[in-house]
Symmetry: D2
Subunit: 101 residues, 4 copies
């Protein structure tokens, strides 16, 4: 399945970049295929491995902070692996032009 997640530390002042860097270090080391974008991180894998990764990131933020808001969106489709790259390519093929990524 494909999932996008985002973690917002609350009450840590308005610069939260150090905490997000910590999260991305964990994602990058996880071995799961991922892509970051300005609003969140898209990751591909089975339910348990994706959720385990998000939990580790969320708990890391909660270790130093008082409060966090974590959002997870899951798109699951039977028999469709490697959708992270295929989804965008499939749209581009239909439109007949390359889109900004």
């Amino acid at each position: 399945m494909l999932a996008e997640f985002s973690i917002i530390p609350i009450g840590a002042g308005s610069s939260i970049g150090d905490q997000l860097a910590e999260v991305l270090r964990i994602v990058d080391a996880s071995g799961l295929p991922y892509k970051i974008n300005p609003m969140g991180t898209v990751v591909e894998g089975e339910w348990d491995e994706v959720i385990r990764l998000v939990k580790r990131c969320h708990k890391t933020i909660m270790k130093t902070g008082e409060r966090a808001v974590t959002t997870i969106s899951i798109k699951d489709r039977k028999g469709k692996p490697n959708r992270k790259d295929q989804k965008v390519k499939s749209i581009e093929k239909r439109i007949g032009k390359s889109l900004k990524k």
Copy 2:
């Protein structure tokens, strides 16, 4: 922590009420404190028990369907149990009037 989740079965035609009823039966039987609203279900518990419940609901929808979109929003705050009811009451106290729930 507090979490709200919503599961949308895709490709099952535009009436998805039977599938959502199945999900709510699972939530109601889970024993976790919950509240449903027209857009999703708010549930309170520890990370593992909340996520286990959402997984069971998601997998139930995927058993009969081809595709689903599941969204989970988590608000976590150290040392604040029973927030499901307290959060709304705290807002009402500040405003000095009862709100529609």
Copy 3:
């Protein structure tokens, strides 16, 4: 259409209750049918009136704060007014029992 929205002020310390009270005051005065829950506010109306309300709330938070994260989820269905109450009732009817709200 039905919409749920939530506004999180960032960098305002970990107690954000006063700012959320301000938002709920605006919602309550808007005249649109709404229901608050511990994770957000569900409101029913046409696209423009719903979005105008969310914008007013978001801009109010940004007036005193540096940063905010606002999430809007919209469920739109042709020819289905008054869904705020009907959706939950329809699920309860299928299950044959009253759910926690």
Copy 4:
């Protein structure tokens, strides 16, 4: 401000690629800076221009469909334009390595 949005047509069968292609054509023609990812589209602009674009996309889907779920996440920060590219670069600088995008 930065916003990510995603539109899910419901009841249109499980292949919704043609409708998403239609949406991306509108985004690409809008002139607003955007980036698509496998879960949604990130767009940067002022509140009104971003919301106008999302409305046009949502209404296009509702013209041919019965039902749609549209999600919009907004990250707003005073005095921080061009964040679409800067946010990711800022994280990479802190980590000291290039991430997958």
